[in-house]
Symmetry: C2
Subunit: 300 residues, 2 copies
């Protein structure tokens, strides 16, 4: 089925205890679409400036990623982000932020993308997520990501969005901000009452929790002893999840739990190298092989 992602495309500079990557491809839509493209075609909607390196365009085009929705604005500049990680690497310290094209009017969804059946709205203002959603012809499944900032600063819009989406993916800190609850099981159950059919709470190195109705699935993270760069892990998680679901077509609880298995594995490859390096080294076979390994090491 057709899978669409709307989100940021960035030029990143990232410093971690394992090194520094300067001017590399980043952004939620880049990570998401690359991870999802292992499973099938992806439609990408975003905007960059003429400074966006040609090799990044080529990298996206080398995958099954349709960049018809990628606006290259002649008088703008690509979003740039710099971040550094220390300690447990759970959170980046932003060292550089140049919104550039992200501060302009948002990209439109091309006519030919409006029939997309699976949609991922990467983190941005909920008002914009709602606007993008409004441009689509009734997609079958819409999943949104968010950030603590939007939950606190645009709470009403965000609560409105929750009533219009199928699924929400967010991290444990965001789930706490949203619900006021410290217990993530209680938080997940509380979020379901706000509208979405399912919720995935991502806990980084501690895995994730999936909630749908009265069903819960709890998975650990895939154990990685050397996390080189956690940037984009959450977007690769979502990309693996949605890529699998769109390819699988059925979205029942059994499919959802398998999808977060694939999501976990996609993220585990992503964090093994800077930018998209970890994913560029692998093929779908590697993902399915690690999924089997994951299944074995998390069973008892």
């Amino acid at each position: 089925m057709s899978l669409l992602v709307t989100g940021s495309i960035a030029i990143d500079t990232v410093q971690t205890p394992f090194g520094k990557a300067e001017g590399v491809l980043g952004g939620s839509a880049s990570y998401f679409s690359y991870a999802a493209s292992f499973f099938g075609p992806v439609r990408l909607v975003g905007a960059v400036g003429p400074d966006f390196p040609k090799e990044f365009l080529e990298l996206l085009k080398s995958r099954d990623i349709d960049i018809k929705g990628l606006e290259i604005r002649p008088h703008s500049k690509t979003f740039r982000w710099g971040g550094s990680y220390t300690g447990n690497m759970n959170e980046a310290k932003t060292t550089d932020l140049q919104l550039n094209v992200l501060a302009e009017k948002p990209p439109r969804i091309p006519e030919s993308f409006r029939d997309s059946e699976f949609v991922f709205l990467a983190n941005t203002s909920p008002a914009l997520q709602l606007d993008l959603l409004g441009q689509l012809d009734g997609p079958e499944m819409v999943v949104a990501d968010t950030r603590d900032h939007w939950i606190t600063e645009s709470r009403d819009d965000f609560l409105g969005l929750l009533k219009k989406i199928t699924g929400l993916v967010l991290n444990d800190f965001e789930a706490k901000i949203l619900t006021g609850l410290d217990n993530m099981v209680a938080a997940g159950e509380a979020i379901l009452k706000l509208g979405p059919r399912f919720v995935v709470i991502k806990k980084g190195e501690h895995g994730c929790l999936l909630f749908e109705g009265s069903n819960i699935c709890a998975l650990p993270a895939y154990p990685i002893s050397k996390v080189k760069d956690p940037t984009g892990a959450g977007d690769c998680f979502a990309g693996g999840m949605m890529g699998y679901l769109a390819a699988n077509k059925v979205v029942n609880f059994a499919a959802l739990r398998r999808s977060i298995g694939f999501a976990t594995v996609a993220a585990s490859f992503a964090i093994e190298d800077f930018s998209l390096g970890g994913l560029q080294k692998i093929r779908l076979d590697d993902i399915t092989a690690r999924l089997e390994k994951f299944r074995a090491l998390s069973s008892f």
Copy 2:
């Protein structure tokens, strides 16, 4: 097989967001032995004073717990601990600490317990753990717990202990203190190099990691939306683990991973009520039923 535990027996007063329990049974050896007794007999070594309530003694005796090693010292007083939990309840704030009998000479292991084959040395000074170990006739399997305090203040003794035990259970914070590593996968692998055949890193609500040779098992926690009192969860975890292993007799990796499944479930019942209340409500059938539920909700 015979299973022995050495550890504290306490009178606790615990405050959590869900209420307060005053003067209830606590201590690592109490929690451990109760949890382990679902699987088979337990030999308990510890000391209390004449103030130790008779009903607590009866509670222990009502289980398959041999209290021949429980010294009731006429001129002493039972160890008392008070703690309060707030927020995510990951750590207690100690509000009262009366070492009493714990500040005196340690209890001896009775002659008739010295042939114990499975031994759990609950958290105390590593010098004392080594001393207790020395009183035993070459047990088959020795597992120790510890605390950050002992790792920092008695590091040499602790490193000596690590060379004499089969397995170490500790929490993620202690694993970080011990190894200096933030990544728990790397930390687990590093601890194996210090001596023990296997290591279990407990991560509370985030589950646990088991390391043995090049094998890893990663489990989430069993999802509990209402954690009433996390006191003793780690000791119930260890009790479930060792109780299963001693009953199972074989200690290969397959048995170890099953044992941490039982451990997780035992701990999940314990945190649903104050003191041993959560475990007093259940039978082995409830543990095995929840184990199956756990298996289902953590598979994908």
